[in-house]
Each structure stands twice: as C-alpha cells, then as structure tokens.
C-alpha cells in the first residue's frame, strides 16, 4: 500500500517539488491519493460528509506540513497518519454531542426478505463499526478494508506488530458480537 498508485512522476519527485512550493505537484498527489484518503476517512467515521471534511483537512494539513516531511518515510504512510489523527479528533468531538446513528437497523425478524436481510446486515455492520473504540477501529479498518499489512499498520500507529495483531483480533470479535445482537 505504500507504493505509487498510478503512472506519472513518482511520489518522491512530487514531494520534493511540493516541498519547494509547487502546488501543481501537490495537486498530482491529491488526485493520486484522494480516493484512498476519502475511503479511509469514510470507513473510520462512517459518514460521507464528515469523511469529505476530514479528507480536505488532511490534505491541507499535509500541504502545511510537507516542508518538514522526511523523504525517507513513505508519503502514503505519512498522509494516512494525518487522516487517522483527523478522524480521531472528529470522533472525539462528535462523542461530546453524540446522537443515535442515522442507519440504526430494525430487528431482523421484522424483515423476512433475503435482500432486505442483506441490507439489514450491512447497516448492522456500519452500526457495529461506529460502536468500536477508535483504537480498535483504526487497525481493523486499515487491515480489513485498506489491506495494509500488520507491519505497515504498526508503523503508522506507532505500535508493535503483536499489539496490532491483538487489536485487530479484538475488533473482529467486537464486530461479530455486535452483529450477532442484530440477528
């Protein structure tokens, strides 16, 4: 997940130019990683409007911070760590004014049709992700949805690989427990 995701100048070249103030080079990075950043934010906060805000804020923060970015680190790893911080801040603020999830599923027994049942389970999953504490949610999302390796997640979160492995296992159990409750 840390390599350049499309053709054109490689990340290192673009980062170097952006560090010299080249906004056009930075725009290539935005286009290159915009979908990934938005998707990660969406998986973390389960809210499209909030995810768009987080993606914007993350890229603006990346522009502000890029003069100090060490080129020996992978740009996507650094960028994703910014997204994680922004998402954590968003969730912390949201918790202070928490409301019921918009897509709280109804009980499955009231919905006999298989397609409706499937939809119900998708909603149950989103509700379950919302219920995960961020320290479990982040490694689960990075691994399960973004396909990052345990080692990459350990680097981005500043944790040991064994801690990451343990948190992902706990997150899976928590999801399973929550989704079974909606059965």
């Amino acid at each position: 997940m840390t390599g350049d995701s499309c053709s054109g100048p490689d990340d290192a070249q673009l980062v170097r130019r952006a560090q010299q103030g080249d906004a056009e080079a930075f725009e290539v990075l935005v286009r290159r990683y915009g979908d990934q950043v938005f998707r990660l934010a969406l998986r973390l906060v389960v809210d499209r409007h909030a995810a768009e805000d987080i993606a914007q804020e993350a890229f603006v923060a990346a522009w502000r911070g890029i003069p100090d970015f060490r080129r020996d680190a992978a740009f996507p790893t650094w960028l994703h760590s910014i997204v994680l911080n922004r998402a954590r801040n968003h969730l912390t603020r949201a918790r202070a004014t928490q409301r019921l999830p918009e897509e709280m599923p109804a009980a499955a027994a009231q919905q006999p049709d298989a397609a409706v049942q499937s939809l119900h389970r998708d909603k149950a999953l989103r509700a379950a992700i919302r219920g995960l504490p961020f320290d479990l949610r982040a490694p689960l999302v990075l691994h399960q949805f973004e396909r990052w390796s345990y080692e990459e997640i350990a680097e981005i979160l500043g944790l040991s690989v064994s801690t990451v492995r343990g948190r992902i296992a706990r997150a899976r159990r928590a999801l399973l427990t929550s989704m079974r409750e909606w059965q």
């Binding site: 914007q56 479990l136 159990r173 928590a174």
Partner: protein, 228 residues
C-alpha cells in the same frame, strides 16, 4: 466507548475462546476475515464444530467483505476544493529564513516581492500603475504580482516581481514596462542596484541575482480626472 486503558484487555464479549474441539475461535475468525487457508485443513474438514463455526462466521462476515469490495470514490469536487485552499498558501507560504540566536526570522517571499517591486517602480523610466497589490495564481516556489501604485496622473504600467528563496538567499525577477527612448541596459542596471540595496537593507537577505524583464515600452499618458 471502551476506556483506552482497557483497550488491550481480554474482552468479556460472551463469545467462546475455543470451539468444543479446542480450535481457538480467533483462528477461525481470522481465516474467514482474511480468506487465508486453514492451519489444520484435515481437522477442519472432518470436524463438525469447525465446519459449523466456519459457516456461521462466513455468514456474519459477508457484509464486511461486501463493504471491503465497494468501489468508494472521493467526491468529484474534492481535488478542486482542496486546491482552492492550497494555492493561496503556495502564493504566500514560502519564506526566506534568517537564522540567529535566539530564534529564526522567516520573511515571506511575497514580502520580498513587494519590496523589490517598490524599489523597481521608483527607478526613473519605469512605469507605474494605480490600484492595488494583487497576487495572481503562481507556483513553483515563486511569487509574482502586479504592483499598483500611483496618483491621479499615473499611467497604466505594470511592474511585477518573482522571488525564489533558499535559506537566506533570494533570486528576484522584476518585470517592468519602460518609457520609450530610455537606455534599457542602463535602466536594468539601475533596477538591479536599487532592488538589491532595498531588499538587503530591509530584510538582511542575500540577493543572489536580480533578473530584469522589460516587457513593454509604454508612453506615459495623463489620464486626467475623466479617465479615472
């Protein structure tokens, strides 16, 4: 939400740690979640507990796989929205740096450009325009802008400056219009001299070069009150 201090504690989630056959539930869950092969395939094929457990987990985990397979794209406006915020920072955000003790002095390239423009605009034979200072969209570690200066009888002439910074060194580009009939090499020499002196005096930066572009020859016209 869970207390962060307890995040790595063993959860009391009501799920069994192991199946009746002794296989850890987490192993089966990981197998289903990551789509990896069983560590003991022969046992799983024969074990009714593992087979039942795998079937149940696969059903519960199906929405996760569906979500993971969704083609999520950022809103089409995301890039333009971000760049609308970034570009002004690119224009104003780069600095020449003077290190000293204590602390560091950063002088925005834009500030150097303003000083250079004003110095150039003060050279006899260089035109000036009235109005305001407006930063146009630029990139690549440079700042350029039209200087607008003047009074009621000033003519519409531009003097622009671009500035590149590297530490305490600056390279300045000055874009001017000139009065017809004037010696352009002499004009350029005087612009370099004044710009270098002003920038050095006012900022303490080291002016590496002043590139002068004479882009037009413009007759001075007295606009008069009606032309304003």
């Amino acid at each position: 939400m869970t207390d962060p201090a307890d995040i790595d504690a063993v959860p009391a989630d009501g799920l069994p740690d192991r199946l009746p056959c002794g296989v850890p539930l987490d192993n089966l869950l990981r197998q289903v979640a990551e789509g990896i092969a069983a560590s003991d395939a022969a046992h799983q094929e024969a074990c009714p507990h593992c087979r039942a457990g795998l079937a149940e987990l696969a059903e519960f985990w199906a929405p996760v796989h569906r979500m993971a397979g969704e083609d999520v794209r950022a809103p089409a406006s995301l890039t333009s929205t971000i760049m609308e915020r970034v570009r002004p920072m690119a224009t104003h955000g780069w600095h020449a740096v003077l290190t000293g003790t204590p602390g560091v002095t950063r002088i925005a390239a834009w500030v150097v450009a303003v000083i250079a423009r004003r110095a150039a605009a003060g050279v006899p034979g260089v035109g000036s325009v009235r109005g305001q200072v407006t930063p146009p969209p630029v990139s690549v570690r440079s700042v350029s802008a039209e200087v607008v200066r003047g009074g009621p009888s000033s003519s519409q002439r531009a003097a622009a400056a671009g500035v590149g910074t590297a530490g305490r060194r600056v390279v300045i580009r000055v874009d001017v219009t000139a009065d017809p009939g004037i010696s352009l090499p002499t004009l350029a020499h005087e612009i370099r001299r004044r710009v270098t002196a002003e920038v050095t005096t006012m900022t303490g930066l080291s002016v590496e070069a002043v590139d002068v572009l004479v882009s037009d020859l413009v007759e001075e016209v007295d606009d008069g009150p009606a032309a304003r």
